[in-house]
């Protein structure tokens, strides 16, 4: 027994632990600077955000120790239970009083917990447990464009869809679009596990079509002396592309090989046109005005630096003014608590304080640090014999990646403003707990890599 304990401790990936501690410590020092109040200079003052953050990190470390002590197989066994409890919490939170228009908090005094953060953990566990039980061969389904294929796809994967779909619907009901978007990070996991091979390529094309649609949909142009809507222009362009492909196929492909290509072409043309309409319809129906504004701002369709674009303009100014070496610790003039030019500078826009005070050196260091963490998680994932652990590792990587990409991207104007925290960096108890537990569970599972077979 004793020997096994030593073995597990020895197999802990200390580099991952080191990365975790480095990010958390940098995060706390940055929160201290971003919310610094001369009246409350005490780092551990629990009425300040840095004090609370330290408390949450403490709680997270305590839970981390528990995770290290318990057996990895227990985690696997409890996966669905944890998922179920968290889903119940997500339902329960819908009956609370809304804060800022969303029902997403359980509050006790000045402390609060966001179940939607922890729900990510639940989804990771459940998805890992579910996917690791499906034989890989079962995934081998020849992709084709037909209704029967779609039906087959849904019927054979309904559990996967449910595990991810339930929390998605529940967070949308809060509403919390940011967390919903993070749930789409599981696409990376599905991709790695062999589902829908061209899904990333497909997503890339979809994003490009969606962006073009949103840019030109409500404008109009003159073609052949007829005034046309932008949407019609896209459809026209797609049709012309289809025609070109048709001619190319006729020219270069053997006659017997043509029919499946024609089918694929016509299918994707129809899907594209439907998608264009769906994007436009979804944009105007589903999105709130402020969400449309954020997208329009990102796409440069509107410019209003002191009005609708206030947040992003101030965020960019804070980051950009950091220069090469930064203004120095606690020297931010935009992203700090006394000036307050950048809103939510300790949570959603925490990257601004960091970049303004540490300059390009600091911001590039942080970005590279996240990149290293992500690659590290991938390498951890790939050395697993256990599919459960590998899937879980990719879940963690995907969630970290999404949070990092959207949070930093939004500050530098490459992503729309979506209020989600920067992992281990932003102030917020639920988010620190969730990201810590994700990493701790991964470290625990990884430490058992040599004793677990499957």
């Amino acid at each position: 027994m004793r020997g096994k304990e030593d073995k597990i401790l020895a197999d802990i990936d200390w580099a991952l632990v080191g990365l975790y501690l480095l990010l958390v410590i940098m995060g706390i020092s940055n929160i201290y600077s971003s919310v610094y109040d001369p009246m409350k200079p005490d780092l551990f003052d629990l009425s300040t955000e840095h004090g609370k953050q330290i408390m949450w990190v403490g709680i997270a470390l305590f839970l981390g120790v528990i995770v290290m002590i318990i057996d990895g197989s227990l985690i696997r066994k409890l996966s669905f239970w944890v998922y179920g409890v968290l889903m119940l919490l997500l339902v329960a939170v819908l009956f609370t009083e809304p804060i800022n228009g969303a029902r997403s908090w359980f509050g006790w005094g000045s402390f609060g917990v966001q179940p939607s953060e922890l729900a990510k953990l639940g989804a990771c566990l459940a998805l890992s447990a579910h996917l690791s039980n499906i034989p890989i061969t079962k995934n081998k389904l020849a992709p084709s464009i037909s209704i029967s294929y779609l039906v087959q796809l849904v019927s054979s994967n309904w559990k996967t869809i449910a595990i991810l779909g339930i929390p998605c619907v529940l967070v949308l009901l809060q509403p919390d679009a940011g967390t919903f978007i993070v749930f789409t990070s599981f696409i990376l996991v599905l991709y790695r596990e062999g589902y829908a091979g061209n899904i990333l390529l497909f997503l890339l094309v979809a994003v490009i079509i969606a962006v073009i649609t949103l840019i030109v949909a409500d404008s109009s142009f003159i073609f052949l002396k007829i005034k046309m809507s932008g949407k019609f222009g896209i459809v026209l362009a797609l049709l012309i592309m289809g025609l070109v492909f048709y001619l190319l196929i006729r020219q270069f492909v053997l006659k017997r090989n043509r029919p499946p290509l024609y089918r694929a072409m016509i299918g994707s043309l129809i899907v594209s046109i439907l998608f264009v309409n769906f994007v436009e319809w979804g944009y105007s129906t589903f999105l709130d005005d402020h969400q449309k504004e954020r997208i329009d701002l990102l796409l440069g369709k509107i410019e209003d630096p002191d009005g609708k674009g206030y947040n992003i303009n101030r965020a960019k100014a804070a980051i950009g003014s950091g220069g090469f070496a930064g203004k120095g610790y606690q020297q931010a003039t935009l992203a700090n608590a006394s000036q307050k030019h950048v809103p939510m500078q300790s949570t959603d826009f925490i990257f601004c304080t960091w970049s303004e005070e540490r300059g390009f050196l600091g911001s590039a260091f942080l970005v590279i640090l996240y990149s290293i963490l992500l690659i590290k998680i991938v390498s951890v994932a790939e050395r697993q014999r256990s599919r459960y652990t590998r899937i879980f590792a990719y879940c963690v990587a995907g969630i970290f990646f999404y949070h990092f990409m959207i949070n930093v991207g939004m500050g530098i104007g490459l992503a729309p403003v979506i209020g989600i925290p920067l992992p281990l960096f932003s102030y917020g108890g639920s988010s620190v707990l969730t990201f810590s537990l994700l990493l701790f569970i991964l470290i625990k599972l990884d430490s058992e890599r040599k004793v677990v077979l499957q």
């Binding site: 890989i136 990376l188 991709y191 790695r192 596990e193 062999g194 091979g197 990333l200 630096p305 303009n313 101030r314 960019k316 100014a317 804070a318 980051i319 950009g320 003014s321 950091g322 220069g323 090469f324 003039t333 935009l334 006394s338 000036q339 307050k340 030019h341 809103p343 970049s355 300059g359 390009f360 911001s363 590039a364 970005v367 590279i368 996240y370 990149s371 992500l374 690659i375 991938v378 994932a381 790939e382 990719y394 990587a397 990646f401 990092f404 990409m405 930093v408 991207g409 530098i412 490459l414």
Partner: protein, 625 residues
């Protein structure tokens, strides 16, 4: 299987590519592009201008003419106002209409609820004394101090000028000015604007998102202090100016007094005048409007911006030119034939001195003809053209119709007609006489100071100074000292006329006799022992009234200097529409000279007569039937 395993590389690639894109983007934003640094400065730093006090203006005896006083602006922060504020009572307290109050409030709210906006500005201290104890009842409103001009001696309004807010041309011309700044609009305030304005100070603050200052930027490293403008000393003699303005009350006209030995302007009066304190602070607009409407034109600076016919005072110059040109001798005599130009009854003038003393019109008609028609050409048209140009050149050397370099804005100089004018512009531009189309017979009115020639009172005072100096002058100027600066050299350079000093003696002799001898035209100007030398003038003038050209009562003119030897003072007095030069202008000039030279007035009857006279009404001369 192998295929699917390779997908880890795609994922790893994404985890490297996206951060790489971010690093590149960060490099551009933080290192390459300065746009965001500028934007950040714009957002987070606030430049607060501190205004300097303006330079003090003294008279030649260091009496304060313009000083500064603290005025009060009332500002408002809309979101600090109390809900149940009595707007009517507040508007009444700060003495504005409820409509104005509402308008200002709306403007303030439109601008910002959290930042302060102006409610009323420039409340004089005496009015603010009534407001201050009540102001605490109206939260959200507070006062801001601001220095404005005050005129401890309410004199010389036209000389000192006034200040008002800069307009767009001022801002365009000089980036020093920002909207809302004050600038000298006229008078000394304008001509010495750059000396008086001082230097604005700048304080850089960090401001928070709602524009509230939080801290000094870089601990005030880049801040500068406001520097008060340099004080200046004028050549004006406040005592004399005040006395002159008293004498000029209820009269329309102008007085200019010079020190002949320096060209310093001791007094410049334009009457009617106004209290310069009227054009300060928030009452400026209203008071300015009222002064604008006044038909007696109190805002017009008659001394610097008006021109008049010189009348008989011009004869002095005719005599000097004739003597210098050698076309007459000082004994020259001409008969008083009243057929061409009218005259009063007097004995025949035997010599230049007599002619000046009796101001005989025919005498100067003939004398000037000798200047214009010198007989050098057979054609008297050609002769007249050449003569007139000689004549005009002389007059210009006397500073008529040329830039006198006086340190004063918008001075209007007189007009000396020359051949070009008569060839091309007379009697009208559309139908001129043309070259060699005129001779002395056309232009002779100029010989007695009527006709086309025009002079300003300042130029006439300069003529008096030239007479006193026997042929030279210094550019008339207002500046005596500038704190920490030298005054321009041009004011110390002697300007010579084309007439030699010896030719002045017979003319000055005549001027002395004008005042002192029986038969002189200005006996009222006599003050024993002061040896005042003068020359009267009476200028006909016309005005279109109800569509008819009516002749008004003549302008009364007198120029003088004293004492005859070692002159200390030169004066020109114009009293509009008051009649003969000796009646009103001469005694006023003599009182000023006496006051300046002796400090007191011996003949109080003379003084009282002037003080009591009301010459304001414009009288029309009844037409002879």
């Amino acid at each position: 299987m192998k295929n699917i395993d390779n997908r880890k590389y795609i994922i790893a690639l994404i985890f490297i590519l996206i951060p790489l894109i971010f690093v590149i983007r960060l490099f551009f934003m933080q290192v390459v592009d300065d746009k965001w640094k500028e934007r950040a400065a714009q957002i987070s730093e606030n430049k607060v201008i501190t205004y300097p006090a303006r330079g003090i203006v003294y008279d030649r005896n260091k009496i304060k003419l313009i000083s500064n006083e603290v005025y009060y602006d009332i500002r408002v922060i809309p979101n600090q106002m109390s809900e149940d504020m009595d707007s009517f009572a507040f508007a009444k307290l700060i003495d504005i209409s409820i409509e104005d109050y509402e308008r200002q409030m709306n403007k303030a709210r439109d601008y910002s609820y959290r930042k302060s906006s102006e409610m009323v500005k420039q409340i004089p201290p005496d009015e603010f004394a009534d407001i201050a104890p009540e102001l605490y009842k109206y939260p959200g409103f507070y006062e801001v101090e601001r220095t404005l001009r005050i005129y401890p001696n309410p004199i010389a309004a036209h000389v000192l000028g006034y200040m008002s807010e800069v307009d767009s041309t001022n801002i365009k011309a000089d980036p020093y000015y920002k909207s809302g700044d004050l600038i000298g609009k006229s008078g000394i305030e304008k001509s010495y604007e750059k000396v008086l304005r001082g230097k604005k100070g700048v304080k850089y603050y960090l401001q928070d998102a709602i524009g509230v200052e939080t801290d000094r930027y870089e601990n005030g490293k880049y801040d500068t202090l406001a520097e008060q403008g340099s004080s200046i000393t004028l050549t004006i003699d406040a005592e004399l100016q005040k006395y002159g303005e008293r004498l000029m009350q209820n009269k329309r006209g102008s007085v200019v007094v010079l020190e002949p030995s320096s060209g310093e302007i001791l007094t410049m009066i334009s009457s009617p005048t106004y209290d310069p304190n009227l054009l300060v602070g928030r009452r400026l607009g209203q008071n300015y409007g009222e002064l604008m409407k006044d038909t007696t034109l109190p805002l017009q600076n008659r001394s610097a911006n008006s021109t008049y016919p010189p009348g008989s005072t011009f004869k002095l110059l005719m005599a000097l030119i004739a003597l210098q040109e050698g076309v007459i001798t000082e004994e020259a005599s001409f008969p008083c034939t009243k057929s061409l130009v009218g005259c009063h009854n007097h004995p025949t003038a035997r010599g230049v001195s007599d002619g000046v003393k009796m101001s005989c019109n025919p005498y100067f008609y003939y004398l000037t003809r000798k200047i214009i028609q010198q007989g050098k050409h057979k054609s008297h048209f050609v002769d007249a053209a050449e003569g007139l140009d000689i004549w005009a050149k002389y007059l210009k050397s006397f500073g008529l119709g040329v830039d006198l370099k006086t340190d004063f804005p918008a001075i209007r100089y007189g007009f000396v007609p020359n051949t070009n004018f008569y060839d091309n512009e007379f009697p009208s531009k559309s139908n001129p006489y043309g070259k060699y189309g005129w001779a002395y017979s056309t232009i002779y009115s100029n010989s007695i100071g009527q006709g086309e020639v025009l002079v300003s009172p300042l130029e006439m005072a300069n003529i008096a100074a030239i007479m006193a100096n026997r042929g030279h002058f210094y550019y008339p100027h207002f500046i005596k000292e500038i704190e920490g600066q030298d005054i321009p050299d041009i004011y110390t350079i002697k300007q010579k006329t084309m007439v030699e000093p010896e030719n002045f003696e017979p003319v000055i002799d005549g001027m002395w006799r004008v005042v002192h001898e029986p038969g002189g035209t200005a006996r009222r100007a006599r003050v024993d022992s002061l040896n005042i030398c003068g020359k009267t003038g009476t200028a006909e003038n016309f005005k279109i009234i109800n569509g008819k050209r009516e002749q008004l009562v003549d302008h009364s003119i007198f120029i003088a200097f004293a004492p005859k030897d070692d002159p200390k003072i030169a004066v020109s007095v114009y009293i509009e529409n008051s009649g003969f030069g000796g009646t009103w202008a001469a005694p006023i000039a003599s009182l000023l000279i006496e006051k300046y030279l002796t400090g007191a007035i011996a003949d109080t009857n003379k003084e009282n007569r002037i003080l009591e006279a009301d010459l304001m009404p414009i009288k029309v001369v009844p037409k002879k039937k």
